[in-house]
């Protein structure tokens, strides 16, 4: 490429506060939303769908907890219970948590943070949304037609024989895989090719780094899920015999295939959450993030190591002793980059001027909950301990601490952080803080008892249980109600904010990355100028005017960095 760039003049572009036209009202009508190529609108549509499915999955969870109020049958029979927990898992994982942060918040903010006008492939972006909806339809269809009782893991041979709607469910997940792949391809390409002038890899916001690492996992792991589910569908329709022991196949091989995707997928769920926490902690501590490169590269390290540890889900499956030992050993390595992140976040807060706004409250709660989830994960990774704890409520508590205490709290933090930016409205700060604390209490009340039950031998997925566990189960159920109240409160004040919230300024939190250097809500093409980046995204010590630089030319014709 020729690098004979003419010297370009840059100047500050003041941000227009409370703009009349923005991406939400630039064009009108249902069609302008259904066929939009604007990444922000697609992200909003994703956000609405994801929240809807979180609501569905949450209702299922409440039903499960209510059933467990008594040791014997309460209000649903065992078969229904099996279907409800399968559906709770599948909806929460495939319909909520995997698309939650990347496809909703990531879609809205990745291009803005890069100073780009859109993602690299806007049409694929829209396609990915409709593919996701198509997959969701299949899931709802299988819910209506008998449901599915295999658990979200679809283990063979049960899934090849169970008389439930396995085919439509797995086909739905297969379809949603494509949506996930398209998002990953889009994000990686966008980060590589669409960065604003001056935005080097060392000046990328850490949320972008985490989405990049997530994209890498999505691209490398999701196709293996696709082939696994395709083989499972073939196993059910044609009896190809690869996974079904009755036909000479090997069910443990299915678990290898499944977890080669599903373990890295755990990092698809949590790594974007890490990115949000990095943004929150730096912004609300008013400090440069401690160890930028360590935090950025640890995301990639997690992405890589995450591919080598899948067998720790299979310690009791009958896989070879050699691989159990190797997997247990490798599993501990995941703790390293994760620990690096926690340490760096805490070091960032140290001596910062901490502003305990709602997003920061969520970030701090995240630190508590995720650390508990992570440390119990280390215990489960230890081979000898896992033999005892495998398939008990200890595991259930562990992954809820990581996924809900981690990802959902990070998601809520990000939602509150960026809410003023993409809606243009402020929410009620007092109610938000109260809700956050209610959620924190409810969460711990729900899941802490499950660690105790698990270590005492309460198996997961059981419909009935011994009476000795009843007190703890009831604590947990009451906790789930508190959680429900907390989420209702969040929904309430966010809706109020949409209807009559105060108008949001362009930079309510004093952030330094590019999304705060444009109006709230953003203009249809994010920036009216070509932004130029000269400082890092967390350089709170630099004057804010220097973060609002852009190319001083009516018609830009410069080459991209």
């Amino acid at each position: 490429m020729t690098n004979t760039t003419k010297p370009v003049a840059i100047r500050e572009f003041p941000v227009e506060e409370f703009p009349e036209t923005h991406y939400l009202n630039a064009t009108k009508g249902l069609k302008s939303w259904m066929l939009t190529l604007d990444h922000k609108r697609i992200g909003l549509m994703y956000l609405a769908s994801v929240i809807f499915f979180f609501f569905v999955g949450g209702l299922l969870a409440l039903a499960l907890r209510l059933e467990l109020w008594e040791p014997a049958q309460n209000f649903m029979d065992a078969e229904t219970y099996n279907r409800v927990f399968t559906l709770h898992g599948a909806v929460m994982i495939f319909l909520f948590i995997i698309p939650s942060i990347p496809a909703a918040l990531g879609n809205i903010f990745l291009p803005v943070m890069l100073g780009a006008k859109d993602v690299a492939f806007p049409r694929l972006n829209l396609a990915s949304f409709y593919i996701y909806l198509g997959g969701a339809m299949f899931t709802l269809y299988s819910m209506a037609h008998g449901g599915i009782d295999t658990g979200w893991t679809f283990y063979t041979p049960y899934s090849t024989n169970s008389g439930s709607a396995v085919i439509s469910m797995t086909f739905g997940v297969f379809i949603m895989g494509f949506s996930s792949i398209l998002t990953g391809v889009n994000f990686i390409t966008t980060v590589h090719k669409m960065r604003a002038p001056g935005q080097t890899w060392g000046k990328l916001p850490l949320f972008v780094w985490s989405l990049y690492a997530t994209g890498v996992i999505q691209v490398l792991a999701t196709p293996v899920l696709a082939i696994t589910l395709l083989l499972l569908i073939m196993e059910r329709t044609l009896g190809i015999g690869i996974f079904d022991p009755a036909l000479g196949g090997d069910p443990v091989l299915f678990q290898h295939f499944f977890w080669f995707y599903s373990h890295p997928a755990v990092y698809i769920m949590i790594v974007p959450g890490f990115g949000i926490i990095s943004e929150l902690i730096s912004t609300f501590s008013r400090k440069v993030i401690f160890g930028y490169w360590a935090v950025a590269l640890s995301s990639l390290a997690i992405a890589f190591i995450g591919f080598l540890v899948w067998g720790h889900h299979m310690f009791t499956s009958g896989q070879s002793e050699l691989s159990t030992v190797v997997f247990s050993f490798l599993t501990f390595f995941v703790g390293l980059p994760t620990g690096i992140k926690i340490m760096n976040w805490v070091a960032t807060m140290y001596r910062g001027s901490i502003w305990l706004a709602t997003p920061m409250l969520y970030a701090i709660e995240f630190l508590f909950l995720f650390t508990i989830g992570g440390l119990t994960g280390i215990m489960l990774g230890a081979l000898s301990v896992d033999i005892h704890l495998h398939d008990t409520y200890y595991v259930v508590a562990h992954f809820h601490y990581v996924m809900m205490g981690g990802t959902v709290f990070a998601f809520l933090g990000g939602l509150h952080y960026w809410w003023p930016k993409f809606t243009g409205k402020m929410y009620n700060e007092t109610l938000a803080k109260i809700a956050s604390v209610i959620l924190f209490i409810g969460f711990n009340m729900t899941f802490l008892p499950q660690f105790v039950m698990g270590s005492q031998g309460m198996p997961r997925r059981y419909f009935g249980y011994l009476e000795q566990f009843q007190t703890l189960h009831q604590y947990s159920t009451v906790g789930s109600w508190i959680l429900g109240v907390g989420f209702l409160l969040v929904a309430y004040y966010l809706i109020v904010s949409l209807v009559k919230g105060a108008k949001a300024p362009s930079n309510p939190w004093g952030g330094r990355s590019l999304e705060w250097m444009t109006s709230s809500p953003m203009p249809a093409h994010n920036f009216e100028h070509v932004p130029v980046v000269i400082h890092g995204p967390y350089d709170h010590h630099q004057p804010i005017a220097e973060f609002r630089m852009g190319i001083d030319a009516p018609h830009h014709d410069t080459t991209h960095a």
């Binding site: 490429m1 080669f260 070879s320 050699l322 081979l383």
Partner: protein, 114 residues
């Protein structure tokens, strides 16, 4: 290097020629019957060589931006990891080394058993 490289005719024809020859070779080798592990090694070796030719010259990676090559190599690396780590199980399933059946320390005879 630009992605817009126009691949010279001699590279295209040469690559196709080499691929034809290698195909003939791999079939010929099949009929010679090389003994056990080496037949697979030779067959896969020729296939990898052919695949590299296609990727470098037909797909233009030889002239292209490095990132595209990195992407392809990444897929190969993760495929190899998937095969290798899965085989740690499938190849050693009937070769336990007794991590589970270490005899527990014999109970002290003087213990106060009820």
């Amino acid at each position: 290097m630009s992605g817009h490289h126009i691949i010279p005719m001699k590279f295209l024809l040469g690559t196709a020629g080499a691929l034809f020859v290698l195909t003939a070779l791999t079939v010929a080798v099949h009929y010679i019957h090389i003994p056990a592990p080496f037949n697979i090694i030779v067959a896969i070796g020729i296939a990898v060589l052919k695949a590299s030719l296609v990727a470098m010259f037909f797909m233009g990676l030889f002239w292209d931006k490095k990132i595209n090559t990195i992407a392809l190599m990444l897929s190969v690396v993760f495929f190899v990891l998937m095969v290798g780590v899965t085989m740690l199980d499938t190849m050693f399933r009937d070769k336990p080394f007794g991590i589970y059946d270490k005899a527990p320390a014999p109970p002290a005879t003087t213990s106060a058993a009820p």
